[in-house]
Symmetry: D2
Subunit: 280 residues, 4 copies
């Protein structure tokens, strides 16, 4: 048609080959959303499990995602270096993944917060960053988990001061200003007899979703669809002749499941046990 | 922290100043979704109204969107040329808008398809294209509405042949191969006594959402929040000190509503009546 | 070959369609170059003519450049909006044009500074900026010519103070600090009896190179190659099957020459006389 | 000024951190230039030495370039992974380096082709490609040197057939069509008694410029400026407070020279002897 020329104004946006891709989504105005829906402070187990569920949905849909890490209202997804998903088109990847995460969050809300009606449609932003070397991936996830620790220690003491220590939020901020980590631990212990390290790992470490290969015999017992995800027809692949389908042809034997862990990913142990994460 | 350097790998992605921005979202694998949820063929009024509702939500949230056009599983949003939304950051705009559209689609599904449970979380892709001149915006929306007409005429005859003419889908495709528009009209009229032009405008013209200024006296009657959108706290603005908030400070007097129309936007009339759309 | 895959790491870099392109080059460390080669202060007619010659070479080579403006060690080139030079590839355009300008500068040095041997190879940077609307092109060239005026007025008084007024450069800067334009004119007039407006237009207005259509009968007299450029085989076209050759197929009749002017390009007159500059 | 806003249309173009940068320049229309200036076929030692001289000039000016490889009318420059030259701004780097190469080519022409006046200003294009891993750098330079071998073997037999074998260029192309490498070697040997491997290494291997650290005692003898480059004030640094000067502060002790070699860079030996090339 005589109007079709407008399609030529679309600019190509392929991401550089040979780089790891990290896609991070973050809830829009979740401070307000958490207030409006009375999220438990500082951590609402239901809300964090809902975030994990949405992230699991994303990992089930996109096989090239080998690891995900979530805390608070954010989730980071690591794509293997040689992914050819959507020909590595930046806009197509970030919108489709952010949209699926959002959809799953709203779709599964009532499963995790059955007694709290969702008052309005929440939304998330998404961005993708290219990292050339494995070291930068190690440091990226260390950056996020260190952030989890610092925020959670601060928030735990803050809300203890407010909810149990009768301080106003302003006073609590003042009490905490300039304190070092050990002082915070001291405060929790002496004033609220809380041993920080015995708090749930989920709050201290955040959520790690990792695609683990399942040993053949164990695979037999497992249903093909990884547990935890809504039995979604999407799991059987899209049938849409994409240049590179979301499901690269699975090798016959290998079976994978997505494991949820609340463990340290700053040290070497986690990564040394899973060399494939930073391999190709 | 020693890991913070990874943040510097994020590349700036501002969109060129002085260009109109058109953001188009499109449902992922909606052929499958429409089959799985028995959408009426070729057009499912409920599903199309749900698309309009999600688009209206987006327009209520982002005041710089002055026009939207939707058909099938896609919606296009026109941002005014001088928008400074998120400092015109490409990733931030396309993910947040696509995410909000998706969220509203899932959030409002049951309102429009009460007797059809949503079987899995749907998702959408999003992209943004810069257009330097008003003429290209006229031709962009003409391109989309012309596409609506051609697809709808084809689909209307196709499903008439299949559902009323007892043709298989393969036969129907064969019957239609190479036919010109007039032959299709002829077929509809002679074999199925359907007068194409009397079919609902929504199916023939698609949906146009346009922000119209409301005359002062009429404004008095209207609730501040544009009707049709979930009474969303987000309407009262975000309270987040964005470089440019999603709600540029509204001039005191002017009140706007978002009107849903099913009219021609290829000819000059629609645009001549609304010069502000292509102005600044 | 097994190594060819490295070619795929080259990212596409097309410039948005429908935008005017302005390419600006600027001499690297010309403060040092002008000192090392004893350029007359503040303006060295020979050096400025050499800049014009290099710019003319560029305009002879690239027919899609319709206007150029030069001052000091910089030159700006305006490409017509619909150019398809090198498929509008950003890197290919800026390097080839900057390289040709540099080459011509060195190649023609001795023609303009015969008694001053070029001591080392000079270099230039180049950049290209997209402008969606004609107004921005008017303001771009006004920005550059206003810059010429302000710098030249300052430099003229500065060097008068230093060379005729026996002030040190530090004193001269102090004398000029905070002075307004009229004070500078006053100083020139009263202390050095220089009437700024009677100084050569080239110094006050900079250099304007514009492609003017030559009336048919006048065309007959003119040699095909525009005067001023080295009789360069390149004028006869490249013979290189580029997707869009540097010389779009010339219409038979129209003949163009590149005129050098030292006139105002901030006001409307220059542009109103040449509507084609901002047309297509 | 009221026009300054146009500066904001310049888009940022930083190259991704942590990637090796390879900048390749290539002569524009050098087929024509070589004909017009009667370059010896297939290789003109003078012209190739001029290319090396220009490349050496570039390496003297930019300390972050650790390796360069040239053949025919092209040169590739490898920047160390952690360079912060011009804040890794893509346009600034490619134009300035391509411009300096061009300038040096024209500036030094007469030194290498004293009896052949340069007829017009030549130009070069430039581009920069990001490579995330050392392996890709090995393969990039292997790609270029393999290209040198294949072209030079073909050109050597081709011009032998034409200049000594009385074949027309068309016949020579026909003779060579479909021949494998060994047949070409056979032809050279039997019909022209040329032993390909005894031809000058420069023609077979191209030119390698590598920055080698000079042992302290040897350093004492050497003039600070690397020999071969015009004694250019530029060697003493720019004195321009760039965010990152072209001359990162040299560690007191280490002295470097730029060595010209015509050796294999496809095998491991060259690289194993110089681990710093692919290190940080
Ligand atoms: N009470 C509670 N609040 C949470 C929980 N998870 C997240 N939040 C809230 C706390 C933070 O205010 C907010 C996340 O921090 P952000 O920096 O992302 O702030 P927010 O999303 O409001 O702003 P943004 O739109 O991302 O710039 O979400 C939770 O489990 N419980
Ligand atoms: N029956 C029915 N189908 C619809 C309706 N709206 C959209 N669809 C279906 C028809 C098309 O197969 C599909 C939209 O065309 P697309 O080119 O976007 O295909 P699809 O979304 O499957 O692929 P994609 O992931 O976008 O590449 O959605 C509707 O109102 N009723
Ligand atoms: N004496 C004299 N100096 C000139 C003439 N044309 C240009 N220059 C000098 C004056 C300025 O210091 C310099 C141009 O200003 P720039 O801001 O481009 O400085 P420069 O090139 O040194 O630094 P750059 O590498 O561009 O950042 O060139 C001339 O005709 N006569
Ligand atoms: N006789 C001779 N020719 C040479 C020599 N070095 C380069 N050339 C010529 C041979 C090739 O035709 C040309 C280099 O090949 P290119 O693919 O770069 O062709 P050209 O520069 O003409 O086209 P381009 O503007 O780069 O697309 O330069 C030399 O030493 N002797
Ligand atoms: O999300 P971050 O970490 O980049 O920091 P921010 O302040 O939320 O900024 P934005 O989300 O707008 O990039
Ligand atoms: O959506 P379009 O119109 O760009 O065309 P497509 O074939 O769906 O391609 P994609 O959605 O992947 O750009
Ligand atoms: O040349 P400008 O005007 O962009 O300003 P600058 O200070 O010279 O900066 P650069 O040349 O590095 O962009
Ligand atoms: O130079 P190359 O190898 O990219 O190949 P080309 O055919 O010369 O193309 P261009 O120089 O225009 O990229
Ligand atoms: Mg953020
Ligand atoms: Mg948030
Ligand atoms: Mg957050
Ligand atoms: Mg599509
Ligand atoms: Mg679709
Ligand atoms: Mg569609
Ligand atoms: Mg500059
Ligand atoms: Mg300069
Ligand atoms: Mg300058
Ligand atoms: Mg080329
Ligand atoms: Mg070439
Ligand atoms: Mg070449």
């Amino acid at each position: 048609s005589r109007y079709e020329y407008v399609k030529k104004f679309e600019l190509p946006d392929p991401l550089l080959l040979g780089t790891f891709l990290v896609l991070r989504i973050d809830g829009h105005a979740f401070h307000k959303l958490s207030e409006a829906h009375d999220f438990t402070k500082p951590n609402d187990e239901r809300a964090l499990q809902l975030m994990d569920h949405a992230a699991r949905n994303v990992m089930n849909e996109f096989n090239d995602i080998c690891l995900a890490f979530g805390e608070s209202d954010e989730y980071s997804f690591l794509f293997r270096k040689s992914t050819t998903l959507y020909n590595r088109r930046q806009s197509k990847i970030i919108t489709t993944v952010t949209s699926l995460f959002t959809s799953s969050y709203v779709y599964n809300w009532s499963k995790y917060l059955p007694d709290k009606e969702l008052m309005y449609p929440p939304s998330f932003d998404g961005r993708i960053v290219m990292y050339p070397s494995p070291k930068e991936i190690r440091d990226y996830f260390a950056w996020r988990q260190a952030d989890t620790h610092i925020n959670n220690l601060y928030n735990t003491v803050f809300w203890a001061l407010v909810l149990q220590g009768d301080e106003s939020t302003t006073q609590a901020h003042a009490t905490l200003r300039g304190t070092v980590s050990s002082t915070k631990h001291e405060m929790l212990h002496s004033r609220f007899s809380i041993n920080y390290n015995s708090l749930p790992a989920r709050f201290r470490k955040g959520s790690v979703l990792v695609r683990e290969q399942v040993m053949p015999e164990k695979a037999v017992l497992l249903a093909p669809a990884a547990e935890g995800a809504a039995s979604t027809p999407d799991v059987e692949g899209q049938g849409i002749p994409q240049p590179s389908t979301r499901k690269p042809p699975k090798k016959p034997k290998a079976q994978y499941t997505v494991e949820l862990l609340h463990c340290d990913i700053i040290g070497d142990e986690f990564w040394d046990q899973r060399p494939y994460l930073l391999a190709e």
